[in-house]
Symmetry: C2
Subunit: 112 residues, 2 copies
C-alpha cells in the first residue's frame, strides 16, 4: 500500500532467493572474490555475477577490484543480525512443517 511498504518489500525481495542468502552467508567470513564464491557455492559464474550485481544494486554488498579479480563484501553487517533473528521464526516453521510431514507419513500408504 504505502510507498514505505513498497520499499520494504524491495528489501525482502533481495533476500528472497536461496543463492543470494548463500552468498551473504559465505561473506560472513569476510570479503571474497567471484571465483572463490563460484567454487564455494558451486554455481555457474554468470549466475553468480548476476546475483552479486543485484545485491550490490540493492545496497547489500559492495565490491572492489584488485588487479584481475573483484572482491565482494557485505556493506552493512547489520544484515546478519537481521538474518539471525529470522532464524527463530524459520525454526518454528520448520518444526511445524516437520510435524505436518510426519503426520503425512503416518497416513496409510498407496492411498488417496
Amino acid at each position: 500500500m504505502t510507498s514505505l511498504h513498497r520499499f520494504k518489500a524491495e528489501f525482502f525481495k533481495a533476500l528472497a532467493h536461496p543463492l543470494r542468502l548463500a552468498i551473504l552467508d559465505a561473506l560472513r567470513e569476510g570479503e571474497k572474490s567471484v571465483s572463490q564464491l563460484v567454487q564455494e557455492l558451486k554455481v555457474e559464474q554468470p549466475t553468480l555475477s548476476q546475483q552479486l550485481g543485484l545485491l550490490r544494486q540493492k545496497g547489500l554488498l559492495e565490491a572492489r577490484r584488485e588487479g584481475n579479480t573483484v572482491l565482494y563484501r557485505t556493506k552493512d553487517p547489520g544484515v546478519y543480525e537481521f538474518l539471525d533473528l529470522g532464524r527463530r521464526i524459520f525454526e518454528r516453521q520448520l518444526r511445524e512443517n516437520q510435524a505436518l510431514l510426519a503426520a503425512l507419513m503416518e497416513e496409510p500408504h498407496g492411498g488417496n
Copy 2:
C-alpha cells in the same frame, strides 16, 4: 544452495510484497475481518483474500470464522520483532537512496 537457504528464501518471499507487509502491519492491532482490511487497505477483496491465503499457508497468519465473517490474526508475534529490526536497515538504505535522488535532482535539467 542448501535446503535451509531454500527454506529461508521461501520465508522472505512471503514478506516480499507491499500488500502482504501492509496486512501484517494492519494486524499489529489485533485480529481483523477481511472486510475491515479491504476498507483499511483499499484493495479489491479477491486480491486481499489471495494474499491472506498465502500468508496463512506460509504459517504467518491464522484465521477463525465467526458467523458470516472470517477474522485473521498474526500467528507468531515474533514476526514483528523481525520486521522492526529490518527497519534499521531500510532506513540506512532510504537515506542512501535519498542522497542518490538528491544528487540526480541537482543535475542540470532537460539533460542526458
